[in-house]
Symmetry: C2
Subunit: 356 residues, 2 copies
């Protein structure tokens, strides 16, 4: 099984999410915490505010986000006259057990913090924290990662078999449905676990790659890029350079989330209210061309290990086959550098939920 963390950041996601997105979303988070966090209630029941950061990776990006959250909460306490009751903060950094927590602790975290640090290994699709222990949950660019590639798209006998493609946006409806169903199962597991772990009144701040409800699958730029890579792989398979069966069984486990997916998931769960949901555009310079060469290089660094494992390639940093894959990808992807600005808009979804 390909793990979520092995597949790390994919082209557009690399540009859309993480630090750049965080800067844009910081303002949204600040606003939503100031409006929605009920500090009177929290300060009467706890001396500690626990913040979970789900999918922290090595922390480089998410540490800024959690520090910002702490600053906003402290400011809120002061502005409401609760200065003497400012709580202690504990940030619980979560990612899969195979994540490099050593780097998080030794390189990413500042040596002096105004909060307590803990790392929690495990999948956020299941329980990770004790009952009613979390006040704020932050998950930036985590929830769109599927826990696994949907089984039916790997099954030759299924109508959802995703032959010749590595993604769902230009595939058959059956493939797209399989992705959507997997996302539904995953987000249900995610919300069920958090519903137990969060205190009443706790806030959840989610950021995912997204598309507006009205946008068709074929209009999603995240899909174009995966298709360009898939097409490069298929060309190579047809030339006998790599195994076609291996291309057929390779799929990118990322789902492009629509607002409606989240609305329905929250309704199914029943324990949260939607306090805010908006599509946003985290690209700082929306009219400038994208540097697709750099993006392809990043993708090779991020996906190289997974691809090498899947295709049975040894020494993938020096592999001619890998060079070929990414050279071809680079040539195909470069056309997206001048992508129309409208395709760069509304590609990130910011959702704030409150535990009832």
């Amino acid at each position: 099984m390909t793990t979520v963390l092995e597949v790390n950041l994919v082209i557009l996601e690399l540009r859309l999410c993480q630090r750049e997105a965080s800067i844009i979303v910081e303002a949204l988070i600040n606003e939503v915490i100031a409006e929605k966090l009920d500090i009177e209630n929290i300060s009467s029941t706890s001396n500690t505010i626990r913040i979970a950061d789900l999918g922290c990776a090595s922390g480089t990006n998410t540490i800024f986000a959690t520090q910002n959250i702490i600053e906003v909460v402290e400011k809120l306490y002061r502005s409401k006259g609760f200065e003497s009751k400012i709580p202690e903060f504990q940030v619980l950094f979560n990612d899969l057990p195979t994540n490099d927590f050593n780097t998080l602790f030794t390189s990413s975290l500042p040596s002096e913090n105004n909060y307590f640090v803990a790392a929690v290994p495990g999948s956020f699709h299941g329980r990770l924290f004790p009952e009613s222990s979390l006040h704020i949950v932050h998950c930036s660019c985590g929830l769109h990662w599927l826990s696994k590639v949907p089984e039916e798209i790997l099954n030759k006998d299924s109508p959802a078999w995703n032959k010749g493609k590595i993604y769902y946006t230009s595939a058959s409806d059956q493939v797209a449905d399989a992705y959507a169903s997997q996302f539904d199962r995953d987000v249900d597991n995610f919300l069920n676990a958090r519903a137990v772990e969060m205190v009443s009144g706790g806030l959840m701040l989610l950021l995912t790659i997204a598309a507006a409800d009205g946008v068709s699958r074929s209009e999603m730029p995240q899909g174009w890029v995966h298709d360009a890579f898939g097409s490069s792989l298929m060309d190579m398979a047809k030339e006998g350079l790599i195994s076609e069966a291996k291309v057929d069984s390779f799929n990118v486990p990322i789902y492009i989330v629509r607002p409606n997916d989240m609305v329905r998931a929250v309704e199914r769960n029943g324990c949260f209210s939607i306090e805010r949901m908006q599509l946003t555009d985290p690209l700082l310079k929306i009219d400038e061309p994208l540097d697709m060469h750099a993006s392809v290089t990043h993708t090779r660094a991020a996906l190289g290990g997974l691809i090498a494992k899947h295709f049975g390639i040894e020494k993938h940093f020096e592999s001619e086959i890998m060079d070929e894959m990414f050279d071809r990808f680079d040539k195909k992807a470069v056309v997206f550098s001048t992508m129309e600005p409208r395709y760069k808009k509304n590609i990130v979804l910011f959702v704030t939920l409150k535990r009832k």
Copy 2:
């Protein structure tokens, strides 16, 4: 500064502490939890029992101890008719940020647990956890490690300069006093931090290498072994093989704790009651000879990095100088293999404190 973790396990400690000691001490822990843990109070105030394991290293040994603690607490809930109120457990594994937490998460921990896991990086001589968040604190073979070598014993102009030795048990009173004062400062910091972090009624279970109050420094076998190594190093310095100044500035940051040290520390702190304090003997086969060759090999594995760094030795696994150091140490240490049983007794201190 030499960090506590770089210096890992030293000869006798290797035999006296960790897994073997845990087996012996397990019975003591089971007894003390059954007698002293006030589950009626805990179950009325919290749905979660948080257990901190301080100085966990890669977890191989302490995981058994914490799992045992959880089993005993669950048994206690059942035996007292609180079966329906059995809480969730969270184990917070602590060690210095440079500890290998990745190995703890990927190799040591079972993939399925009946408790939530978190890792907390930092020195246990300072605050690590939020206020009133811990119910049980377990620290096996951690507290006797000094946070640093006392400064005065490194100062040529001080009467406490520890010239020609690497330990305090056969050194001047000034050196011994410097070690004792450093331990006092460290244990004060330790207890002050835990006093804030533990709930009222919380239990602290401590295990340290020790000597009875009446035993003179020169009778402590832990000291003999360090002296044997120090003497090997001094021989080599006299022969010009290594720098004498480097030997003078190398000191093992371990303090052999006497019951009285703990009694006085608990009194100075004032927030804990001593529920149990006893010297014990964790060696399973007290009449059998010790395998000192194996112990020297383990010591090289554990101390090699630190010694290489201190003496400026590159590639210490292939170093002739290191071979020489440990060959000489081996020859000197072998005499302790037939150590009289009386010297193997009462060398571990088990202390149970309760937060008032």
